[in-house]
């Protein structure tokens, strides 16, 4: 069988479909921030950025750019009506106090018990960057991860145990990859959706821990975004 893995935008589109009306969501750097472009119409989803914004709007157009209005990734942003701006400690009171419904974060590795590693890839000569990842992983009500299913070299990222240093133990609920949507359950990884043209054995071969497949495992289909 032949298959076509999802693009970064398609992974983001899929993850965005699970954001419900009324949710407060923090999007991590990298692929997660792309979800802002694919929020389903008619749903009010409030985006929080850890530099102290609730109600992040679209990235600023050149005419809208204001150097003093940024998100945590240094992008120049706009605000939606009703947005608020606050201190870093208030921002993390929001995050650590359980006021964020969902955080979507990038990941290096996820273990079958929900352990997450996403902050230190141990690149020689490069310093560590924790940022807000540990706080979000512990404090958000639900942690969802977006990442490629395997590394560039084809090594699995869904593992029995993380090899990299942990961001937080037992925190991941759902993983969106270019091949599948996988939930972390008490019994390990459970595939809910997978792309067409890829066999279950092939997906298993690209994973470093045992996969189970939901009874109603669906085709992971996205528009060509």
């Amino acid at each position: 069988m032949s298959h076509k893995a999802l693009s970064r935008n398609q992974i983001a589109w899929r993850a965005a479909q699970d954001l419900e009306d009324g949710m407060v969501v923090n999007l991590g750097l990298g692929m997660p921030v792309l979800c802002a472009n694919f929020r389903p119409e008619g749903r009010e989803v409030l985006l929080q950025s850890e530099n102290g914004v609730l109600g992040v709007g679209p990235v600023a157009t050149p005419e809208q750019e204001d150097r003093d209005l940024t998100d945590a990734g240094s992008q120049l942003i706009t605000l939606i009506p009703g947005a608020s701006i606050f201190s870093s400690s208030d921002s993390f009171a929001m995050i650590r106090g359980g006021h964020i419904d969902v955080t979507l974060l990038g990941g290096f590795e996820v273990a079958e018990n929900g352990d997450l590693a996403n902050w230190d890839a141990e690149i020689p000569g490069k310093g560590p960057l924790i940022g807000g990842a540990m706080d979000l992983a512990v404090g958000a009500k639900e942690v969802r991860i977006m990442m490629q299913h395997t590394t560039r070299d084809g090594a699995p990222r869904l593992l029995e145990q993380c090899r990299y240093k942990l961001t937080a133990p037992n925190c991941v609920k759902r993983i969106y990859t270019d091949l599948a949507v996988v939930d972390v359950t008490a019994d390990g990884f459970m595939v809910c959706e997978m792309i067409d043209g890829l066999g279950r054995e092939e997906l298993q071969a690209r994973s470093g821990a045992k996969l189970r497949f939901a009874d109603n495992c669906k085709v992971l289909a996205t528009p060509d975004v």
Binding site: G52, S87, S88, K126, G127, P128, L129, I130, M134
Partner: protein, 226 residues
């Protein structure tokens, strides 16, 4: 009469010396005290501890501090320099010239808030089960394991705001406030560079940081325009 205005960078940084701890506001490019950072290398102070969410802003604007090995310790959530090559702070971390207290950003912010509020330490679940909790006191609350994090205080805080008045009251534009709002209270001497010192006093609704936390204000143009 209360008047916290100073006319020169020399006055703004007077008293800054060896062995001191300096906090720096700013995040994502907003609220970074670029003018004050640039002035730092001219102050003859060494064995400094810096408290800054990211080390790289100081590397960008006060590179000589690292070249001259005058920073001995950093407290930061991010210690990654720009680009794929090693920055000077990364090289110094690797060879031990510089030591790092790598703090999760929320713990970092709360440690500063606590420092300014007279709270010496607090427990948090953030970091448990990771390298940042190693060697720290652990205690379980309501079935959740937590780690003890100690407050951060400083001799100086350097930060940028948009407007100030002679009381030291501060008004921020956009997301300038970030860590500065917390750091203002956590230092003995908080120095704020602002675009404008207003002639009168700021309207109450515009005051984001009460002047009581601020010692010196100096009007300096936005360094990004230079």
């Amino acid at each position: 009469m209360i008047d916290k205005r100073v006319a020169s960078i020399e006055e703004a940084l007077a008293g800054l010396g060896d062995g001191m701890t300096i906090m720096f506001g700013g995040f994502g490019g907003a609220g970074v005290p670029i003018n004050l950072m640039r002035a730092l290398p001219a102050i003859p102070a060494k064995d400094l501890t810096i408290v800054s969410n990211s080390v790289r802003f100081l590397e960008d604007y006060a590179h000589a501090l690292f070249e001259e090995k005058r920073v001995k310790h950093a407290v930061a959530s991010a210690a990654r320099s720009r680009g794929s090559a090693s920055g000077i702070s990364e090289l110094q971390l690797a060879d031990g010239t510089l030591t790092l207290d790598n703090s999760p950003q929320g713990s970092f912010a709360e440690r500063i808030r606590a420092g300014g509020a007279g709270i010496p330490a607090f427990y948090t679940p953030t970091g448990v089960g990771t390298p940042v909790a190693e060697g720290k006191e652990h205690r379980e609350f309501n079935g959740q394991m937590c780690v003890l994090e100690h407050a951060l205080t400083a001799d100086f805080t350097l930060m940028r705001a948009d407007r100030a008045d002679r009381y030291g009251n501060l008004y921020f534009r956009g997301t300038q406030g970030n860590f500065g709002r917390d750091m203002a209270a956590a230092a003995k001497c908080t120095v704020v560079e602002v675009r404008e010192i207003v002639d009168d006093l700021l309207p109450t609704a515009d005051i984001h940081v009460p002047g009581v936390f601020v010692k010196r204000i100096i009007q300096l143009p936005d360094a990004r325009d230079a």
